[in-house]
Symmetry: C2
Subunit: 643 residues, 2 copies
Amino acid sequence: MTLDINLKGEYEIMKMSKLFVQTLREFPSDAEVISHKMLVRAGYIRKLTSGVYNYLPLMWRVLKKIENIVREEMDAAGAQELLMPFVQPKELWEESGRWEVYGKELMRLRDRHNREMCLGPTHEEIITSIARDGLKSYKQLPVNLYQIQSKFRDEVRPRFGLLRGREFIMKDAYSFDMTQEGLEKEYANMAQAYTKIFKRCGLNTKMVQSDSGAIGGSVSHEFMVITDTDAGENDVFYCDNCDYAANSNHAVSKLPGVNEGVKLTGDWQTAQIVDTPNTHSIEELCDFLKIPSTLIVKTLVYIIDKKSVLALIRGDKQVEETKLMNAFGGNDIRIATAGEIEEMMGVNGFEAEKGFIGPKGLKEYNGYEITVIADETVKEMKNFVIGINQKDKHGVGYNWQGGKYLGLVGETTSLTSQGGKYLGLVSETTSLTSQEGRCNGAESDTKGLIELPETVTDIRLVEAGEFCPQCGKPLKVTRGIEVGNIFQLGTKYSKPMNAVYLDQNGKTQPYIMGCYGIGISRTAAAAVEAHYDEHGIKWPLAIAPYHAIVIPVSTKDEEQMRVANDIYLTLKKHGAEVVIDDRDERAGVKFKDADLIGFPYQIIVGKSIAEGNVEFKIRETDEKTAMKPEEAAEVVITAINNL
Amino acid sequence: MTLDINLKGEYEIMKMSKLFVQTLREFPSDAEVISHKMLVRAGYIRKLTSGVYNYLPLMWRVLKKIENIVREEMDAAGAQELLMPFVQPKELWEESGRWEVYGKELMRLRDRHNREMCLGPTHEEIITSIARDGLKSYKQLPVNLYQIQSKFRDEVRPRFGLLRGREFIMKDAYSFDMTQEGLEKEYANMAQAYTKIFKRCGLNTKMVQSDSGAIGGSVSHEFMVITDTDAGENDVFYCDNCDYAANSNHAVSKLPGVNEGVKLTGDWQTAQIVDTPNTHSIEELCDFLKIPSTLIVKTLVYIIDKKSVLALIRGDKQVEETKLMNAFGGNDIRIATAGEIEEMMGVNGFEAEKGFIGPKGLKEYNGYEITVIADETVKEMKNFVIGINQKDKHGVGYNWQGGKYLGLVGETTSLTSQGGKYLGLVSETTSLTSQEGRCNGAESDTKGLIELPETVTDIRLVEAGEFCPQCGKPLKVTRGIEVGNIFQLGTKYSKPMNAVYLDQNGKTQPYIMGCYGIGISRTAAAAVEAHYDEHGIKWPLAIAPYHAIVIPVSTKDEEQMRVANDIYLTLKKHGAEVVIDDRDERAGVKFKDADLIGFPYQIIVGKSIAEGNVEFKIRETDEKTAMKPEEAAEVVITAINNL
């Protein structure tokens, strides 16, 4: 028996046999994260080329629902929608100064007349040009303009499916205010709208402080979906005791004191150069010298925007690369290779090599301009161990020269070693040199003074257990997927682009701007990361492609088909989005597809219809209940009416 | 007095003072057509760069409305929406063979890994790859998939604002069938949907036969908005007596007979070469020889895809370049320059020059491969005049050699001249040579035979007054703006791309495809071309950015403001999209802006409120009526409920 209802037009496609979806038996081999695996296998997306996906009909339904939620909340918050082009002219990017600095993620192209253009990775330049053309008087301010649109960023290594693609859908909003207070008010307004949006999408998000990155500006926050899956690309540090939460690229913390009350004794009281053969890592150096890493000034070599930067940090801490890049004022950072280090510093008497690099005398060397940036952790260090650009040697008992640290040589901080095991508070002192005989051949350096770098700032990666900067309680760490971000841009774009309005006194003033993004396709993927099990997706009702599926177990059973049709039509009549699985397939195949695709409600019409019952399954819990067909329909209708 | 209602969120932007719109006092200087002028001046669009526009909030509202109408009708017709990427990989375009042939309109680019890509001008390749991946069984067919998306075509000369831009919004649908009959059924289904869509948008369209162009396929139709403005880029030939209608690039006609019953007498009976000095145009040649242009075989030189093509056509008719290009099988056509003609044919004894070119002996000449294509009009010509590649000379009394035309020399068709005025049916005969003395120096060519080109086909531009190919009545011509098109592609993409399904017998078969486009942004512009007056736009209600505007004449008048607020809130409550002009501006400024922007209904609250009346203006007719506020609201509410 086939469906006895005469379906037409859009109703036709609610038949599973006609729905454009092909589920796969296996997860795709190139997928690393859950959302990528699930969305491909369940027939939502197909890769067109690296980082570029086709959104098939099921996916598009999800995306449209997210778009509509975003649109409703943005409109309700007073923003006005427009649409800017995908292709942008170079000239505006030159005005803002970003044409040069944006890097390779900016996809550049030339038209047939050889004019340079780019594919929009974001639209600050365009919106600023629109504003300066259309917002000429204070009477028109404040304004918030937004669009929902595809963007392109030529990621070096696209991955994770929709989470880090090259072409993706984004909502981007831009606000124009007269004062910082106005901006802050709109910033709070947007934060509130975002909280509503993600809640309506069924996502539990945390608003965290973050780095402003290539967008710029002073204050920014990200909205993170907290997840334990591999897709969480960001570490988020947060405090249970207060509301502090920050992306690792922006998190700060208070540190416990170290080495306090420990006295430096023996040869360590005197600055000297000691032999430290083959100590290429902090760990090896600690082992060899029998000291804690807290007494070592670690030196790392980075390449930022093709320039060399030495980063100094206390030996037990890690450098946070975004912080370092920002401290330098750069746009692109990576650790230097061994070859680069050798090329830069391994000549003219220096025997620079990983493990032995230090800042001493290295301002401009071997034709390379070298910038030294120190983390705040090194500022208070005394009688420390540091690389001195000589292979297999380190300076010990060294101190900072200059500033308020001058003259602190030989003071209270001590270094103690006992049988190769460091006990921070043991007062017994042993001279490494005398005890271990490892300082043979060390030159005497009675001064042991190194200039403290000009730039001493926070470039440290926070670790869980360090103390909350707000309330002092230990911080926790979790992983998050960024789905939205908000930025206080200030005049970063309006000033260089001369985007001004006339104020009440007839004076031109640059707009105080903010910008606010939501990754639409990213939000869909994050929803999968947050809602799935081994059988498939568990869409939140508000963004599911369909609310329900009706599954007649046997399409050859007239009674089952009759009841299934009845339920289907009842649901349709009440505005539910429902699919009927009319395929002549085994029940197991239909159940598996229903779970994989992730229909929130599944109404299974099988043999128990003889007792007047259908099986009602809630995908979120996989709970199954026998109930009357009309009861099942009622549950679905009530749920969608409550959306 | 300010608005005493506490507007919040989306309501806030319904205040004219807060709406992001800036009308201009003048039309933009670079705009050539009405829609471009109006949309810029009324604050709907702003140019970002050549052929690329920002859609400001008013425009975006119009576009969304058109999109929604399109979406509703496509869904009702059973199509399923998806979204394909803007950026496409070269590989798929190589599979279809279009990477090479598409020409410079295809915007090509390279990513950071030097992979070649393009911006989608259309999506046949992508959808075909999606289908072959997802439609593997006959059970899944037929399917129609569509998207609404920005496209990019790097037009050599973008113009006319949204009508011929480079980045534009399009709905493109693609159908997959098993049989030609299935395709034809879906083609008719789409034609019906299109008719509904444009009608709902308030547009009067004609469905006309057209050339398939770069999309390919055998049968195609365009939906044209008939207009008398400069924006009508296409000539449409149509018949009032039957349903025939065709784009000039595809129109055919029956011609009246010429030269019948006229006898060729005197020297013209014998093929000969005559002196025809300085006769560079058909007109000059006719004047000189005292003959009608119907006796001349006109030869034109074109460059098609960098190759030389001679087109032969009867002297009184024009070549239709698209038809000629298709006859050659090319993608790009232009007339050759005088320099090119000289370079090709002006050596080795030939003195080729505009006006004296002919096909004789010109298959491969001077290193150029030359193709000769003749229009059907020349086929039946006898004893004609033709260029023979000698400066200031023509062949007269020439005939076709080969095929059934061989041996027709000296037959019935006559050439008559009388005192410089040709009278087609006059039987008096005069020899040009003897009478005018112009044939001095002419060589005798007793054969006068020229090979009829292999390709004889229709390359003629139809003219009004020629006869309908269906019913024989005279054709009329009008101008149209193409807003939609439908194509029967057949297996043009599925075969080369090996896009197949398994039929009932387990055999692979290529899909029979169709494709169906609607220019969303173009439809908006065409609506302006069809609905405007000197004061501004007259939007059809269904696609107007707002349904109505309420204009309190004086915002300082408490009673006016109170009534305006009441009407505004009443309209809002009933779902109308309404703006209140709260600006402290002169009434004239407000009225002008309302007309320019094109609010379909304008409710003006002025002094007549003392008598309990407002002025109700219908923009379409500019008719104004005094009525009670509640009556005015009622008219608007009724109208939108009838949409």
